[in-house]
Symmetry: C2
Subunit: 436 residues, 2 copies
Amino acid sequence: MSGTVQDHHVVIVGAGFGGLETVRGLKGAPVRITLIDRRNHHLFQPLLYQVATASLATSEIAWPIRHLVSDRPEVTTLLAEVVAVDTARRRVLLGDGSEVDYDTLVLATGARHAYFGHDEWEPFAPGLKSLEDATRLRRHILLAFERAEREPDPLRRAALLTFVIIGGGPTGVELAGTIAELARVTLWRDYRNIDTRMARTILIEAGPRILPSFPPDLSAYADQALQSLGVEVHLGHAVSACNGKGVVYGDRYLPAATVIWAAGVAASPAAEWLGAPADRAGRVEVEPDLTVPNHPEIFVIGDTAAVTAPDGLPVPGIAPAAKQQGRYVAEVIKARLKGEPAPRPFRYSHAGSLATIGKRLAVIDFGWIKLRGALAWWIWGIAHIFFLIGVRNRLSVALSWLWIHTTGQRSALLITQGRQPGSSEAEARDRPDRAA
Amino acid sequence: MSGTVQDHHVVIVGAGFGGLETVRGLKGAPVRITLIDRRNHHLFQPLLYQVATASLATSEIAWPIRHLVSDRPEVTTLLAEVVAVDTARRRVLLGDGSEVDYDTLVLATGARHAYFGHDEWEPFAPGLKSLEDATRLRRHILLAFERAEREPDPLRRAALLTFVIIGGGPTGVELAGTIAELARVTLWRDYRNIDTRMARTILIEAGPRILPSFPPDLSAYADQALQSLGVEVHLGHAVSACNGKGVVYGDRYLPAATVIWAAGVAASPAAEWLGAPADRAGRVEVEPDLTVPNHPEIFVIGDTAAVTAPDGLPVPGIAPAAKQQGRYVAEVIKARLKGEPAPRPFRYSHAGSLATIGKRLAVIDFGWIKLRGALAWWIWGIAHIFFLIGVRNRLSVALSWLWIHTTGQRSALLITQGRQPGSSEAEARDRPDRAA
């Protein structure tokens, strides 16, 4: 078959929403595909905060990539980390020193936490991007309650029972609402020396309102709903210092054993690999057809690309945007292989913004209609179950949520992944009471 | 209330089957109870191998201890590691330096792997006792297939696709059957460069037959069933050497990237804490009422105690035995507090032995009837679902099993807990290809 289009090799880096959608869009096209990811699973990131707050198990929101493409013999999956791209020789370089040639390259490598020049905060204010982040955070939150139960000093106990979330976007709002629910509804009967209902959950947002991407009235509603859940919302002050003992924002110092970063992300280093122009968040500034300037054979999509929507605003870093871009790139590749004219430039169409607040409340902005409260929560839940991959996970997540909302009990309250509490390694690494 | 029996303080160390059953048995008794465990969850160990082989999620077989006793205000749960017992002052010493006084002490601290004087084998042949063991083993097994997919050298590839289980008891048989099923049924469609159906699963047992605690005809049946699943069963040779590259048994050297230890356990160090007489496996040789000689206020139960059954054989280290002992100890404590005569000595009653082989086959020995094959598998499954704690987990495990057995697909094929494959830490710690 050498010399035919069957030899056209598409390498896709990243099996998130964008990468997987490119694979789907290329079904039936005369190409070989290599799908590279540094993890063996696709992750449904919109529900990651539910793993961190003990509502869902890891396997309910993750799927082995190999299995998702097992019915596509032309797709080879590689569990490997990309470390560089040689654009001149059209090769992707992997962490083990091996190389993969490509004819077309699609970079869909996502984003990671960004600390705005304060990378030293990362150990004290972890973010939430991977399953490991989520189980580590779950461990940290649950251990804070455990240590508070045994802490005789009232000031230290108060710090152990203070949970700070930095950043008032959807992830911050969802985390704050769920942690407050955990303390006020789920856990309080289980402890003898502390009343977990006295725990403080504090959401710090530097801007003038939470959920800044939503209309102001939905922001105000979410703010009030969070406060009725017991969350303290502090607006208008950025965090100026952060260590293992607490945070400073505005002119206030707040001792807290648990600080969670939900304030910002930066693109993965794809722009550095390519030597391509990038915006301040490190996203590659792509052409209207999502290719890299002067490299029509390289596409960048999802959270790694800076794309402008028809309304002149940047395309948001959410799953539907990445999927639309993945579908578009597959169309461009197929048109090229057929010798057809290129499709018109990528146009993002915004279906809506959703955020859940906890306790069966949510806000939804579809543009043509705005919803808030219980109905929005039901739509949010049904939409997320619908977008989960596979009947098995839909059933399982539906069962987990049904259980939480009928009994108030969570099934995944597990402290795992660390050493036993006695070991010195655990002491050094995991003690939330370093905050006290 | 000082001076009344209400002040009687029972400290129970270990929230396994024995410890929890003691707590249950003491319901309504005029005592305060402190339940100490170094983990926050009770673990249903009989199904742990299913987490290691990607059939079940961790949260399906584990429950937060606090929650299990949340309706018992007289029970305080401590997440802490016991490091010593001061029998003279009746105090338990914890890892953080604090102490807990007791009037009655119940040690139910379980067992750990025993390498028969070869502790240096542990890193190369991990055992299966905790959730962390299970997710680590799952990671190791799945990474072996991933690395084999990318390995050009045929000898190294063969070593990556060789899975050795040492020990032919129920755990070894269950692991061997499930790993063979994973390779032959679940995974083969997902790989492009290897045929996982060619993977070798080898069960090494030093004795003359597998499942030595079962009648010989059931052993023979299980042996044949394993072989029809593709498991190679090697009897009569103990492993004499074990490193990261393979194992030596008899006069054979077998290169293998994955070696799993299912050959033996030793009691936790309770006997050392007490300075009490112990058998070769480190189990405390208790009196007929399960107390420690000369210490009627200290009970030792479950895998930590050496107890003889009415037939003169040692009581096996299985969940029903630990539960019976927990119930018995609660009766003894209650009788003492009421000033009633002590109950007659503990008598173990053996309900039966069960082992599953994979592919819907199992063997059961109830004593009065022996079962094998598909019916035994159904009884095994129903019994295990029945003994799981809570409706939520019963539903969830039933759904997981239904899914596996109707679709052949497993939902928990996740590689987690390590670093990305590119990082040097991951290379040093996790590479199963150190075997090649």
